[in-house]
Amino acid sequence: MARAEPQGATRPPIPPAMLERLVLRWRRQAVSSGAGAHLRRRQGHSLEFREFRAWQRGDDVRSVDWRASARLPRKGDLLARSFEAEERMTLAVLLDNRPEMGLPDGMPKLLYALWAVGALAALALDRGDRVIVGRLFDGAAEASVTADSVHGAARLRTWTEAQWHGRAALRMPDNAGFADLDALLRRLEPAAAVVVVSDMLFHDPAGAFTRFAIRAQERRRSLSILQLDSVQHETALLRAARDFRLVRHGGDGELGTFDEAAFRDGAGAIAAHLAALRHRIGKGGLDWPPEPVSWPVSWPMPSAGTEALKALFVGTFPRLPLLSGLSAGGRA
């Protein structure tokens, strides 16, 4: 089955061999878990045959088609039947597209998020799953696009490129609101997996995200949070500059000097915010690892650049707890 491969700046910088291994691990884990979002019809019920696939160790031996396997040229290779309703699931990946995600300048979180969106979509499409990608906030292009097969991967690539090139600058006034999250919820099937890629520092005064997150965990759906943390990295940049003009939304730059106490207070406020948010949205289906993906901080100057971001992605994405969680049907 052809793999969906995004192109352009938002193409995930994962070598194909590594992505191949991720696919195998996901399949292996999904079948051996024997539980989760993938419903299995009991034997005797009519199942809609979908296709043959190579039988992997850990697959149910009853799914092997012995007659088809005998026609394989190499002795020992086995073919297993795959049914339409056996393993198909819906993966919804939501992107935090606020202007703040475009920071820090040298290693923007938005680019990491788009790579993660592309990689997750490729993995899901390769499994034959349905993929929905969308944005949390108002922004460029459509609020969400859906792909049912690798042929829809092109739409996903176009959408991710549009999110990257249409990103807003921080100096713009902060009047971006949430996208239509209810419409997105209506498209989610039972047992779907929802992934939110964000730094989780957004402001939710009306509780729109809280409501969405709670409802996303209903009907056996799972909500996974891929949190990107660049606070320490950006604080180190300010510390090195010492005197700077801090940009706030809609402003020209607040002239100030670095103050450890002020930024310590800020870190505390961030921790309180995250804790409160985790508490509000934590229902049975929440998968929010305590350790986020952290941006590196090096002494004497923080390293920066696209190459550094690629190295961070390649080093962290394959080891995300999110992947095993998704393969088990969204529940750890």
Binding site: S230, D243, E254
Partner: protein, 547 residues
């Protein structure tokens, strides 16, 4: 100076840029809404302050580059100034002889010379000498006065009309041109001389300033008349003749030559001179005293030497001191005295002293022929050319009595070696002399004929006058006299190499000086590269590529 000022301003700008206090950078963070109000920044410091440069090493590199560049500019300026000559004094010797009117392309050789003169003036302008003076000397049959083109200190102006006047109907002389180039200088201190001529260069003596010989004009074939000489027969025995000699340069000799004189007009054939390539001659009878007009019938490259006129007088008679009784003096010979040719018996040998020529006779032939064989003899066509030696052996004369006198050489001897005929060559202290058997008109044949033949051959040899060059005047086609036109006949000479006019503008060779400014420039570039390398290394270190 302008370059130094610009370099100085650039260096100052670099210094000021490095000394300025940078404005606080604009920074954005993703968690800005969590950041409380920051403490106010310290008071705005002056953008310019006397502080330690924020990046001293690259600043030092750039300042060093600016200083080295300024130093290189000043050093290069010194080199350029040293390469310019302090003073150029040029004397142009312009050949205005008639051969300069020979056709050359669309114009004449004189036009070519004026073109080279313009080129020389362009070289002078480009040299940008501190001081300059130029003078022109027009040279034809004589050296003209100096015509100033540029006074000392002034730029070369337009050529005066007198300098570019058409050539003169005069013959040129390469030696005269060289003499003009090396003549004493006047108001213009000379450093170079340029000779513009169509004549081939001649060797120049040691000159106080360099002389450039610029020969213009491609080869043009020409034939010309060089000289006219009158040759007369000895004592009237033969007719006098005019011997016309000429040259042929770059073309064959003419076939005929026309002569008009007192005896009428005629054409004479032209013969090549075998001993001199490119030379020819023609012989015509002398028609008496008067004016002769001699001209070439065919037009050629140079017309000034195609026609000559000469007033030729009657040739004088030869005077002889005749002391022979046996034979009368021929009427063609005038009576002479001391100092003239002596014709006497051998006994008058003592009178043949000094520089007077002498023909002495001895009693050689007898009444009866005395056959005898001839011994050794010299090939002397003047004496023996008309003598039948076989007949002489049948009537051999007696030898010279008393043997060979001092100073004489045997021309013909008998079988025993006794001299019969002897000759004395003319030297600085004595005249030519011959001793032959006496003429014997009363003897029977063959003694009579032999004796008279020998005697008159000797007389003709001593009495013959050399060819006398006549004064001729060359005439142009329009009848104007062209003095010394024969000097310009060789228009078919190979084309000369043009002179290197750039030598006029070259300064005197200075002491060997190796320019240093290129090394300064190289060092400035190295300083700039070092500054770039330092910044690049820091950028890489900051990006984490280099630890």
């Amino acid at each position: 100076m302008l370059a130094a000022a610009i370099a100085g301003l650039a260096g100052l700008a670099v210094l000021l840029w490095h000394m300025r206090r940078p404005r606080p950078p604009l920074m954005a963070v993703s968690f800005v809404r969590f950041v409380p109000a920051l403490p106010p920044a310290p008071p705005r410091a002056a953008r310019l302050a006397l502080v330690r440069p924020r990046d001293p090493v690259p600043l030092a590199c750039l300042l060093a580059a600016a200083a080295l560049a300024i130093w290189a500019l000043s050093d290069a300026d010194r080199d350029a100034a040293a390469a310019r000559p302090d003073h150029i004094g040029l004397r142009v010797v312009l050949d205005v002889s008639q051969s300069m009117t020979v056709a050359a392309g669309q114009g004449t050789r004189f036009d070519l010379a004026l073109g080279r003169l313009d080129a020389a003036r362009a070289v002078l302008r480009a040299a940008r000498a501190d001081s300059l003076c130029v003078e022109i000397l027009r040279v034809g049959a004589a050296v003209g006065g100096a015509l100033a083109v540029a006074a000392p200190g002034a730029a070369p102006g337009a050529l005066p009309d007198a300098a570019v006047a058409p050539p003169l109907a005069e013959g040129g002389d390469p030696a005269r041109l060289a003499q003009a180039a090396l003549a004493g200088q006047g108001e213009c201190p000379l450093t170079h001389a340029l000779i513009l001529t169509d004549l081939a260069p001649v060797a120049l003596p040691d000159s106080p300033w360099p002389v450039l010989w610029d020969q213009v004009g491609e080869p043009v074939g020409n034939a010309g008349i060089r000289s006219v000489a009158l040759t007369q027969g000895a004592f009237g025995a033969g007719a006098a003749e005019l011997r016309i000699e000429g040259v042929a340069s770059g073309q064959p000799a003419p076939a005929t030559i026309g002569i008009a004189g007192p005896a009428g007009a005629a054409d004479a054939p032209v013969h090549p001179l075998p001993e001199a390539e490119g030379r020819w001659y023609a012989l015509v009878s002398y028609g008496g005293a008067g004016t002769y007009d001699i001209r070439l019938r065919e037009a050629d490259g140079y017309a000034g030497d195609d026609r000559v006129q000469a007033r030729i007088a009657a040739p004088p008679q030869v005077a002889v001191d005749w002391r022979l009784d046996a034979l009368a003096r021929p009427d063609a010979l005038a009576a002479g005295s001391d100092g003239d040719l002596l014709v006497a018996p051998l006994g008058a040998l003592a009178d043949a002293g000094g520089t007077r020529p002498a023909l002495l006779v001895h009693d050689g032939f007898g009444a009866a022929p005395q056959p005898a064989r001839i011994g050794a003899f010299l090939d002397d066509p003047a004496l023996l050319g008309a003598v039948n030696l076989d007949a002489l052996e049948r009537a051999m004369p007696r030898p010279i009595p008393g043997g060979l006198p001092a100073g004489f050489r045997t021309v013909l001897a008998d079988e025993a070696g006794n001299p019969v005929i002897a000759r004395r060559a003319a030297t600085a202290g004595q005249g030519a002399a011959l001793i032959v058997p006496a003429p014997a008109p009363g003897l029977p044949e063959p003694q009579r004929s032999l004796s008279l033949t020998l005697f008159f051959s000797a007389l003709a040899d001593l009495a013959a006058l050399p060819a006398r060059q006549q004064d001729v005047e060359w005439l142009a086609p329009d009848g104007r006299a062209v003095p010394e036109a024969w000097r310009e006949s060789l228009t078919g000479r190979p084309a000369g190499r043009p002179a290197d006019l750039a030598l006029i503008g070259a300064a005197a060779p200075a002491a060997d000086r190796v320019p240093v400014w290129p090394w300064y420039l190289l060092a400035a570039l190295a300083a700039v590269l070092a500054e770039r390398a330092i910044r690049a290394a820091r950028a890489l270190r900051g990006a984490g590529v280099v630890p």
